[in-house]
Amino acid sequence: MAISKKSRGLKHSEMTLKEVGEIVSARAIACQHLLDKVNIETAGAADLMSDVLAYSGPGALLLTGLANAQSLHTADMAEIKAIIYVRGKQPNEETIRLAETRGIPLLCTPLGMFECCGRLYQAGIMDDGNVAGRNP
């Protein structure tokens, strides 16, 4: 059974993408100008884009190790607000350009997926599945 926000004693937080980036030691590689403007409340982590399309909630942050154009298209289609690439992965120039065009901020961190999720969870970012009511 998933542990609710209340029972784990954490306050549900909303923070700017800039703050999120600082928590996971990430640097922006696209749409840097949006870091202060985009607010993040929920996140999901997956390398399988079909899972993102099937289970993510709109407005979430995506953490992924899949740094190809499909990760960006998936974010665009599923109304994902921003992507953080983990484990030092970085998309190619064309994908970065496309992200600028579509207004989707991209960030990169050398940290692994588990560490990023743990830090953001502790900071009060919620699982997008909880918000969408999919988790038990």
Partner: protein, 154 residues
């Protein structure tokens, strides 16, 4: 509703308000997603509700990826009706021998290269069905597959 309309307008009921077709190139992972992006932008431009756009976008992107991964080529046709968005996807490809099996979550015939793109885990067709209001599929082995995806505008 249809029965209340005069005879001369009844034949126009199924005529879409707008129709637009988009080509999809099989095997081209670089262009993959282009048709879906264009359709999403068009839906936004004509003022379709955000929630409908998101569900439509998820369906068409999964469908586009299926064409890119499995078929030689395909055409995705968008139809805007007064109460529904319809997307028809027709491809020239190997077809699906067992549709029942293909509709099961997790069943996949994808290659390693397809899986590296973040797709091919047997989620595509079930995901399209889940996000649409009406879903139809027809496939002929050796010829291709056609889908009809309907999303209600409410």
């Amino acid at each position: 509703m249809t029965a209340m309309l005069p005879a001369e307008t009844r034949s126009q009921v199924n005529t879409p308000l707008l129709t637009k077709a988009y080509e999809i190139e099989g095997g081209n992972f670089i262009k993959a997603g282009t048709a879906s992006t264009r359709i999403k932008d068009l839906l936004k431009e004509i003022g379709i509700p955000t929630e409908v756009i998101r569900r439509a976008a998820i369906c068409i992107y999964e469908a586009e990826m299926n064409v890119v991964m499995y078929a030689r080529r395909g055409v995705m046709t968008l139809e805007i009706h007064p109460a529904e968005v319809v997307v028809r996807v027709e491809d020239e490809g190997p077809g699906i021998p067992d549709i029942g099996l293909a509709m099961q979550e997790g069943y996949s015939t994808a290659t390693e290269a397809m899986r590296e793109s973040g797709f091919g885990a047997g989620m595509g067709l079930p995901n399209i069905k889940k996000n649409s209001n009406t879903f139809g599929i027809h496939s002929e082995v050796g010829r291709g597959t056609s889908l009809r995806i309907g999303i209600t505008l409410t």
